[in-house]
Amino acid sequence: MFGIIKNSILGLLVLIFQWMIGDIFSIYGLTPSFLVIFIIYIGLTKSQLHAIWLGFFFGFIIDALTGTDMMGITALALAVVGYLSGIFHGRIVRIPVIVQYLLYTGFLLVFFILTVMISLQDSQFATGNIVFLILLPKTIYTLALLSGSFIVLRVGAE
């Protein structure tokens, strides 16, 4: 019980950080997602169930705050990422580092494919432009920040 409260408070702080000052980290209009890093962290180190439901809940709040037409899509994407990262809960240290990073990239791609591709499907952008100008740069940028955070937090370290 104490764990879920602690994780919720931590998640709330990340959410506030993402929503209010996340744009400070914006490069050429690409803002990384700190919330997905948090959900992967929870899935890998705390609990798969916490990751699923915290992902759903905070994703829903982000959807409500950003005024997207697809309210619920971030909730769905973060719940899926929470589940996927939770599969490796407690086992990530035994996986080779290169595979760890491939997994992180996979989690981020799942998240950004669901949020970016679906929300921009009816826009004037061509699919190629969405992939190469938005999806991949956002994934790489968030992966860089995730790597930095996980080194500091010693996630995946032997």
């Binding site: 209010m20 000052i21 169930l49 439901w53 829903f60 309210m71 619920g72 769905l76 899926v80």
Partner: protein
Amino acid sequence: MASKAPSISRYKSLVNLLAAIILSLLIIASNGTATMDRTRAIVLESSAYLYVPIQWMKTIFSVEKDYRELQQRHIKAQIELNKTRTLAKENQRLRSMLGFKGDKHFSVIPANVLSDVGSHTMNSLTVDQGSDDGVTLLSGVVDAEAQLVGKVVAISPHTALVQLVNDKNFRVSVREMRSRDVGILSYTLKTGYVIQDVPKNAEVIAGDSVVTSGFSDIFPEHIFVGWVSTISPVVEDYVKSVRVDLATDFNRVEEVFILK
């Protein structure tokens, strides 16, 4: 029975994921419904309490950068002002030589926007300056770029209600800068901003600037209104209807200036 327990717990995460996916899909399917709009409003209302102190902190951090930017803009504006002053003096001298009367002078009252109210027919905003601060009924209102915002239609001692240009009851006399033609600008939801009954031979083209004409006591002349977007002939080609793109972005108006 005992042998089933481990298999259920093995699928616990999957069941939870499915539940989260079904809930998300239900939320996506109910987008645009009154319940979802209400839920979104509650989240936004709650977040507003958090936003005030963080906005204050953001302002503190950006003060120096903003100050430098404003300093640069101020210098550029000062140079432009000096040029304009020289031209104004020259103009005044020439006008007095020709026997014209002098221009009207006005001062401004700065005011913060408290709230805005919009519907299909009525658009207005409330500001934090009222009759005690010198605001009078039917005073013109402009934004920080001296672009047309609206006019005061109701006042209390500490607040005033400003009728915006995009209110369907709002009318203002405007002048097209290049051709010098004059018309009445109005707004409807269907047509947008339109100057009606412009003479057929008026040489108005898309992109021309539109300013107030000064033919009223509410707005002095040369307050920037917007740009001509399209021109269409009406009433068997006797007059033109000129559509205008308004310069003021009402979504960004945080403070206004009431003309006195």
